[in-house]
């Protein structure tokens, strides 16, 4: 994550530093939010286990730290604007120190979460794993959490739902992709397989479209030096691979319920969008348009065959 790159990076200037660290804080908040929301829904009405209480305590601790951190970051970036070079150096030093403390605390909490991930209360174990996978900055902790997930929860639909949150938000990673792939292939539950197959397809498609232009951006490459090889691979995903996954999802897991719909419906909708995009590529015959003009008189795009047409989707706003 940018966050980590920032802590390790060699800083050329204050500005680069501030930019990186604000991006980091932002990405961080984005990754944390969906999980936090989900928790408040699932954990409420249950008699809480010891394990669950500890989980609440640890994650709260981090939430407070994070909010503290963003307040500091905002204040620092405000001060930067009017600071002298000496003052800037001082602010940088303070922020680096604060970041180091934060990272150390996160690593510590990550270790405690790993213990919770092995506890008897399966729901909390999954929450702890989810926490590590989204919030830990420690690669070893993440891979341990992923192993736990595969070993203990391969057939649990709750995990498939959680993976679908990972697959749709945050920074793409090879670990996420592998996890989705394993769940979609190895689970004994049709529900898990269906949701994971669908999520993997969306993950690949979103990753491809998001990274397509980003990987050309030098600032992006600078923020994620270790991930660029993977990002390039993801950006080169073939449409065909995505379509095959969606077809599998639509054929084998059509009735699996997910996100207020079914996998069959979701997969078919995605397939249709991909087909539409393919039909709109340069070199394809333009899909005909038939509809009313502004005065209500119906006409067709194909009426203009034989002429060069500049088709302008516009609005006066």
């Amino acid at each position: 994550m940018a966050f980590l790159a920032c802590a390790k990076g060699h800083l050329n200037s204050n500005e680069v530093f501030m930019k990186k660290f604000l991006i980091g804080a932002f990405v961080f908040a984005m990754a944390v939010l969906p999980i936090a929301e989900r928790r408040s829904l699932t954990a409420q009405d249950k008699e809480k286990s010891e394990q669950a209480k500890l989980f609440a305590e640890y994650s709260n601790e981090v939430k407070m730290l994070m909010s503290d951190w963003s307040t500091k970051a905002r204040a620092a970036s405000g001060k930067m604007r009017t600071a002298t070079p000496e003052e800037r150096a001082e602010i940088n030093k303070e922020m680096m120190a604060a970041q180091k403390t934060l990272m150390a605390t996160l690593t510590g909490v990550g270790e405690k979460m790993l213990t919770l991930a092995s506890g008897d209360d399966k729901d909390t174990a999954i929450d702890a794993i989810s926490w590590i996978m989204t919030q830990s900055q420690d690669a070893a902790q993440k891979s341990k959490a992923a192993e736990k997930l595969l070993a203990d929860h391969l057939d649990n639909p709750k995990v498939a739902e959680m993976l679908s949150v990972f697959g749709r938000g945050g920074i793409p990673s090879e670990a996420t992709q592998n996890l989705l792939k394993t769940f979609s292939e190895k689970s004994k539950s049709d529900s898990v397989k269906g949701i994971s197959t669908m999520t993997l397809a969306s993950y690949l498609r979103n990753g491809k479209s998001m990274l397509g232009s980003l990987i050309e951006n030098p600032r992006f490459a600078e923020a994620y030096p270790d991930s660029m090889d993977y990002f390039k691979k993801l950006a080169a995903t073939k449409d065909e691979d995505v379509e095959n996954l969606l077809k599998t999802a639509a054929e084998k897991y059509a009735d699996v319920e997910h996100a207020g719909s079914t996998i069959g419906k979701m997969a078919k909708r995605e397939l249709k969008i991909i087909e539409t995009q393919r039909n709109l590529q340069v070199g394809k015959i333009a899909p005909d348009i038939e509809g009313p003009d502004i005065d209500g008189v119906t006409f067709k795009l194909s009426d203009y065959r034989g002429k060069v047409v500049m088709l302008d989707f516009w609005g006066d706003w």
């Binding site: 969008i273 539409t276 995009q277 709109l280 590529q281 340069v282 070199g283 394809k284 015959i285 333009a286 899909p287 348009i289 509809g291 009313p292 003009d293 502004i294 005065d295 209500g296 006409f299 795009l301 194909s302 203009y304 065959r305 034989g306 002429k307 060069v308 047409v309 500049m310 088709l311 302008d312 989707f313 516009w314 609005g315 006066d316 706003w317």
Partner: protein, 112 residues
């Protein structure tokens, strides 16, 4: 946008060229006034009063304005070209249709 488009429409009036809009404004009556006021003479489809209308959905349009250039055979040839690149694209495609033109714009871009 409008001056450049007005200029193209004027210059290519007797050429096999058409500028066709797909308009996603909300208020059709207000739009008619705007078109009169800004001298928008070319024809537009009405996208049902919303950016989520049937035509922009079918064409998977996510940003506005979005421009496609379709050749005389009905094939999509360019996407998202503007300014000079748009002029070059039109010159090329009109050339393929057997009409050599050189598009020029004067300073205020209205082609006069």
């Amino acid at each position: 946008m409008y001056p450049h488009e007005r200029s193209l429409v004027k210059q290519l009036a007797d050429k096999p060229f058409a500028l066709i809009g797909v308009n996603s404004d909300r208020d059709r009556e207000k739009l008619k006034d705007v078109m009169k006021e800004k001298d928008i003479t070319w024809r537009s489809f009405w996208n049902g009063g919303s950016t989520g209308g049937p035509i922009s959905t079918k064409w998977n349009v996510r940003g506005w304005p979005t421009i496609y250039v379709v050749d005389a055979k009905g094939v999509i040839r360019y996407k998202g070209v503007r300014g000079d690149k748009m002029d070059a694209a039109l010159e090329e495609l009109l050339g393929e249709a057997g009409v050599e033109v050189k598009i020029t714009h004067d300073e205020d871009g209205d082609g006069e």
